[in-house]
Symmetry: C2
Subunit: 367 residues, 2 copies
């Protein structure tokens, strides 16, 4: 696809901006809200019995290519929990897989790459993404969902470091030694790789926005493995360009940038230009707000492990997050990372109700 023409912020294909007045979109923009909005990373996933029933045992990449199934899996947690947003059911390696890089997602492991990225010759295996041709099923599923959902749909893409890490390491990594070595030993090649992945993310996000998602999240999940200096030099420029180009084509779209273990990077991530920075559970939200600065919202940050036991524990920990978020507008409640597969959905249901009842960030303020 070509660059999208500018259009109304956060609008869906048939009703531009129709979610502008929802708590989720308003909180992303730092506006007052009737209640603090909440959604959960990986809310569509193995923690839900209805997900396991609908998904069966097939490959996740096969499931992602079936628009009706994707729409169903995306809707399930919204119907069950009453979350304030839906997160599109997909995977961050979809664009790379779609252009034929040779990526699969192994159950219980994660993305695996048959022939990892090793040299400049491998750049040829990362041709530009043409969403209408390469991932029409994404566009079709977003279109289906944006016509039927009553809450904003969040589209997403992988951040440049995280996608690069899978392609270079060949799969999930503990120490990220290969990708760090590439970044240091050949900054020129790293630059070319990251720019190409940023273009792919941009094309994918634009196609999702054109099809009707109301906001987007960039998952640079593993960027926290880098020192602030390396992040600033080798990842932040491409990330900044990604948000600037999104703003140019889709002005006013709420955008979220998230990673785990990013305590030292929050200030830098904030300068990349997202509307919201996602925070894991390690940094209390009052401190996180200081690091991201005024004018940028925060999302988070209940430790997913706190939802594995009793409601008493989950309630106390949820209240702690709400307390730290304070009353200043600009808080989207979420977990600090994805829902763990062994989570009891009943607990998450109660978390949603508690956040709606007791969250105070931006509630009742005039703005």
């Amino acid at each position: 696809m070509s660059t999208a023409a500018p259009r109304a912020p956060g609008g869906s294909a048939d009703a531009p901006g129709r979610f502008d007045d929802t708590p989720f979109i308003r909180a992303c923009r730092g506006q007052s809200v009737p209640h603090v909005p909440v959604w959960f990373m990986r809310q569509a996933g193995r923690s839900l019995p209805e997900y396991r029933a609908a998904r069966g045992a097939g490959s996740i990449l096969d499931a992602i290519a079936q628009p009706e199934l994707v729409a169903e899996l995306t809707r399930q947690p919204v119907d069950r929990y009453g979350t304030d947003a839906a997160i599109f059911f997909s995977d961050i390696v979809v664009p790379a897989a779609a252009v034929g890089f040779g990526v699969d997602v192994a159950p219980g492991t994660g993305p695996v790459v048959a022939e990892p990225f090793r040299s400049a010759a491998d750049l040829a295996r990362l041709r530009p993404l043409e969403p209408e041709v390469d991932t029409p099923y994404v566009i079709e599923a977003v279109d289906l969902l944006s016509r039927s959902l009553d809450v904003p749909l969040i589209g997403f893409a992988g951040g440049p470091f995280t996608v690069a890490s899978y392609l270079v390491e060949g799969g999930p990594s503990k120490n990220f030694t290969r990708v760090k070595s590439l970044m240091q030993s050949d900054p020129g090649l790293w630059h070319d790789l990251v720019e190409r992945l940023t273009d792919m993310a941009l094309a994918s996000l634009r196609s999702q926005l054109d099809a009707g998602v109301a906001a987007v999240q960039v998952f640079d999940s593993w960027a926290g493995i880098l020192s602030p200096r390396h992040y600033a030099e080798l990842v932040l420029p491409a990330t900044t360009r990604l948000f600037a180009d999104l703003e140019a084509s889709h002005p006013g779209t709420p955008t979220i940038l998230f990673g785990v273990g990013t305590g030292e990077l929050l200030g830098l991530m904030s300068t990349a230009g997202p509307s919201v920075v996602g925070i894991d559970w390690r940094v209390p939200l009052d401190e996180a707000r200081r690091r991201v600065g005024a004018g940028v919202a925060v999302q988070g940050n209940l430790d997913p492990a706190m939802c594995l036991g009793s409601w008493k524990v989950a309630a106390a920990e949820t209240r702690e997050v709400l307390d730290r978020a304070g009353t200043t507008p600009g808080h989207v409640f979420n977990l600090g990372h994805g829902v763990l597969p062994e989570t009891d959905p009943g607990i998450l249901e109660q978390v949603v109700a508690l956040v709606h009842a007791e969250g105070r960030a931006g509630v009742g303020t005039l703005q």
Copy 2:
């Protein structure tokens, strides 16, 4: 063993305090140094060809039980690199294994526990450590080494959270869900478990000190997975007690507390009472010094992955660490985590020389 009688700080069995004037011990104490001292976590390990030759293919727990072999493996990196300290070759699960909890160390995986800790009944499987009976080989190897080494020998133990995580999870973990669940669901049992592990660490460290180690490091490697509040409530008290009890029995002994991903915990870790806080590569040392506060030294913090490529990269990154460490006394150079197995020892040799030549923290100051 019984509680050791107070003795000269950092002394070896035959010459109390004989390393007090070495750069390593002086830097731990925030004193001036002739050069910035350096050692590497996992300097005795698979990165060295002489290690691989001496170790062969047997279990690491078998190797640890052979004092002459342990002494040889401990000495190898000191001889090759000229490091300012030796780190005792052992493993943090040795005490738990020695009292019969059923722990093995699987090559390429790490500690694995046949029957993980699940309930109060499992406390009975963690009887007090009697070092002379349970780990005489540790005492014998320390004794051998402290009589022959020209540099201080660092003893060590696992920190309470990290050892507990192996026992509860049954092995290395990604999300630490079982141990976090136990901490939240049964704080009383968690308290009992942590106190027992702290007693074991204390007994082991005291036996190492009595046999001649000049300093000790507590590896609470995975504590950074916890939020600051949970660390403060559920790990810090036992850690504080550990350092206080060490100070009571072995006053003046330099002590180091280390973990990865602990950026948010550094201030808390400093209050636990160590002489030195170990810093991973994510927090620049100038910022780390602010977090640990005056009067506590820092150790670190070159990213181990920066030693995998060219000397040019390793040199630039080493200089960056030295710059951030500044001129204030109290810097022990180290990596931010253990030496990676694929590291070229030639690079580490050059790092040592560079730190000795260019490090400035406490060099030439009067104190």
